[in-house]
């Protein structure tokens, strides 16, 4: 029994393209294809999110990312961390967060990251043109991930459980 799909858009909306996760979450909140899903807007991934993850049927984490060309995006699957090298507990990286969910609640579903390439992290509440124009494609990609899982066509690690 789960609470359905979970989508998390996170970042700092006052740092231009770092707010792309929130913009995607805004659009998905009104998207009928995600009826029944939980859509969260967060600044960062914090430890208590482990409980939400453990209850979800599938998780998609949307964030800005250094590396890809601005407006392009990469989808990755998250493996739960066995350990964490960081001592920082204000926020966690996706593998550590999924690892914490498995450690505390004995379960994590498939978790994906969708990293959007950025053009600017300057102070400002607007996305760059490249990232702004990519929003429809990003929304489609998240919706497709959720739909794939609903129809059982997703492949990969599946649910991670602790004995």
């Amino acid at each position: 029994m789960t609470d359905g799909p979970l989508v998390v858009g996170y970042g700092n909306v006052l740092r231009s393209d770092d707010g792309v996760g929130w913009q995607v979450a805004d659009l998905l909140s009104a998207d009928p294809r995600l009826d029944g899903a939980t859509v969260l807007h967060l600044h960062q991934l914090t430890p208590e999110l482990a409980l939400d993850i453990s209850h979800a049927s599938v998780v998609v984490l949307v964030d800005a990312q250094h590396g890809p060309e601005p407006g392009t995006f990469e989808v990755g699957r998250v493996e739960p961390a066995e350990d964490t090298a960081t001592t920082w507990s204000h926020h966690l990286d996706p593998p550590s967060l999924v690892g914490l969910a498995v450690e505390l609640y004995g379960r994590a579903p498939e978790v994906y990251t969708l990293g959007v390439g950025i053009a600017s992290l300057e102070a400002g509440d607007r996305l760059s043109p490249a990232v702004e124009s990519a929003l429809p494609a990003i929304v489609e990609a998240v919706a497709a991930l959720v739909a794939q899982h609903s129809t059982g066509s997703a492949t990969g690690i599946g649910v991670v459980s602790r004995a």
Partner: protein, 473 residues
Amino acid sequence: MSSTIVIDPVTRIEGHSKITIQLDDRGEVVDAHFHVTQFRGFERIVQGRPVHEMPSIMARICGICPVSHLIASSKAVDEILAVEPPPTGADLRRVMNLAQIVQSNALSFFHLSSPDLLFGFDAEVARRNIIGVARENPRLALDGVGVRRFGQQIIEWLGGKRIHPSWIVPGGVDAPLAEETRDRILSTIPEALAAVERALAWYKSSLLQWSDEAASFGAFRSAFMGLVDDEGNVDHYDGKLRVMDADGRLLADRIDPRTYDEYLGEAVEPWSFLKSTYWKVLGYPEGVYRVGPLARVIVAAQMGTPRADMELDEFRRRLGRVPASSFHYHYARLIDTLYAVEKIEQLLRGPDILSPRVRSFAGVNRNEGIGVSEAPRGTLLHHYKVDDDGIVQWANLVIATGHNNLAMNRSVLQVASKYVKSAQLTEPMLNRVEAVIRCYDPCLSCSTHALGDMPLQLQLIGPNGQVLDELMR
């Protein structure tokens, strides 16, 4: 040969900073500084903005304690509008403020400090984190997630979202409390109380093993400051300022917070963006005082709720009326959290809590306003001046971390003097220097902003600038 050790950045605090430790030619610590290296400048950014926007702008100062800034800012704007929120509006603000206290205190104790307390300051770095806690003591980790979630859920249920809710507005709150929401919050109270009491029991059972750290983690005589109500009990939302010295004598009592600048000075040092606030009568830098959970439980006669009062009695039996060590912030933070959960329940069971009268409306009626409240880390003041059209001309923020700046610097020097030896740069030494800062749970976002994470770096630098030794993680 004299030298300097630099810890940059300090980890497991909110924001970015570094610590420098200066050694003399015999390798003994002679001075230490806690530097806040990020800059934000909200006091300048808001100039020219309409005063009604202030609460929502000021909430953006911090992603951890936005509600605290919403409260203080809205109270400052209340003064400019010359309005008093309806009693129910004020009580609902109190509930959200206390929920903020709970979630932030939980972050500090469970997520940031419990790894040190569970494994010890000498334990290997790879274990001293929340996943390590989850493996070693799952109950403690689950309670940490549960208590923080309790506070965040209340904020979300009242304000519509976990971070930066806009429900608290000038004149009160934006919408009355729904009966269903009240009942939903009340249903979560018993487990929150149980979780905080479990944490208290666990902490008290391990307190004796930290006697060495307690003796050197900011153990010095200073004053303490916090808000109290008419009966002298803790008040996180309103009340008057009380200042108590190290012997338990009142230096000042029932001070109208609006006269803060008669008592509090703000000094600026070239090595930090964080202002140092001091008690004017004693001058700078002698006028050191502390705020936050430890100060709150010290200056108050009682907490004002049954369970928290019992815990406060035990706290005073164990540690005395005015404990000198900042290590006891941890203990005080748990009592503060227990009080907040109890008080939320009391407020929600009030007969008028569902009243539809929650907001007063008015235009600009004054050109100046000061709002004060207790934030998780201590007393928070917002002070604004506006023109006749309500456009902000000037703003001053006195942040809890600024109140504690002098005390944090003195604490770093004390810990470094005991643990730092120039020839031996070790991880436990480094962790203790950082840990004494974490006792205060400083929120640097509230005083300044930096992007990205930096590795922890500790450098021993010789008189000619050469790196003599270095630690990274």
